[in-house]
Symmetry: C2
Subunit: 215 residues, 2 copies
DNA sequence: CCGAATCCGCAGTGATACTG
DNA sequence: CAGTATCACTGCGGATTCGG
């Protein structure tokens, strides 16, 4: 990308990750390493040449790593480098701000991917309310399945079943909720199926209630 | 801008402020309202049509306001709306990350503007160390003049002379320090002229020492 | 099937000239 | 001062094709 000619952190950031689709690729990689075709299906609409160009640029800039996957899947896997992972606070801050600018419901054709959902969980997590909390949830909404594990007030969220048995499984009804906001509303109204320690639903709502774009 | 087709805060953020030059325009407006020509001179290299296009888009999206300036200067002034101001935490987070990716010294042709310098001050400010601090500084480096006022641990930083008399005036020598990093190094080594409460130099260094891209 | 490379039409950008 | 106008160029979107 062409340079902005300013010795400034923001300018450098935009030079490195400001091109079209780059941040969304990084959002997906921030959740877990992914193959080229995983990224393609998780970013409907991205041209294949743009994806491969971005991956090459991000790799060259030390933000993303190209790895040869080990035995079970064998193939190419893209993953964040430490420099890439250190970008996550900025991605979450941008995501929080963007969330305040979202319409109440998805526009025509707008989808929610498991990775977007996971990053939303991380973004809205109320760190300051979580001190001392230990609990784990598994969430089901449509065919999206994500987990959230809070250990000593620190969050680990990802796609799929969590690392251990969840304390509470929350299944949202109806199963095609359009947005995170609607989903939290359903939780508040009890429109959910619960399996496990049902009293942890309130804790979930408290910890993941979106409170605006504060720093 | 074309949409990404995802109902996701990050995607919406990039749709709204992800286009080329947009974040740098917002960085300047986050410091203070500016006229069209101020923005042009503060963003050397931006094409005039791109600036006017961005301003129109940002205005349409409710992030920037076009105001008719009052009596003294009379003319058009662009300013942040509340939605625009709420983007600042994200700009600072990106700037902090980008700062970790900067070379030690500016590349050929890279400049430092007063607005970039001000945003750097805001970005590196160590909030957690500032509890209870009340102090004000005025900084001179070359022809850049900025102020930093800490009131009860909260920072106000801007271009020009501060709102009141500064407790300490710091003038950096040599007067064309290439980077914020070099400037803090000069401060640590005593390569500065001080006027006022000299003991506040240590406080300044402590509060504005860059400690990496932590959230 | 995965992981791209290639080609084309078009929109966004950069540079400069010009105007109310 | 505050923008438009113009035009060459690059990058993106969309589709197809190709090699392992």
């Amino acid at each position: 990308m062409k340079h902005f000619g300013q010795y400034c952190g923001l300018a450098r950031a935009m030079e490195l990750v400001g091109e079209r689709w780059a941040m969304l690729i990084l959002r997906d990689l921030a959740v877990h390493p992914r193959r080229y075709s995983d990224l393609l299906t998780g970013l409907p609409g991205i041209p294949t040449n743009v994806l491969s160009t971005r991956l090459k640029e991000l790799e060259q800039n030390g933000i993303v790593e190209r790895q040869i996957a080990p035995a079970p899947q064998r193939g190419v896997v893209y993953a964040m480098t430490p420099a890439g992972h250190s970008l996550e606070p900025a991605l979450l801050a941008l995501g929080r701000w963007g969330a305040t600018q979202l319409d109440d419901d998805p526009r025509d054709g707008e989808i929610v991917t498991p990775e977007a959902f996971t990053m939303t969980l991380r973004a809205v997590f109320n760190d300051d309310l979580a001190a001392g909390v230990d609990a784990s949830w598994q969430l089901h909404s449509g065919d999206i399945e994500v987990y959230a594990v809070v250990t000593d007030g620190k969050l680990d969220a990802g796609v799929g079943p969590g690392p251990g048995d969840p304390d509470l499984v929350i299944t949202f009804r109806p199963d095609n909720l359009p947005s995170f906001r609607a989903l939290m509303q359903a939780a508040r109204c009890g429109l959910v199926d619960l399996t496990g320690r049902r009293e942890l639903l309130d804790t979930f709502i408290r910890l993941f209630e979106f409170r605006g774009a504060s720093a």
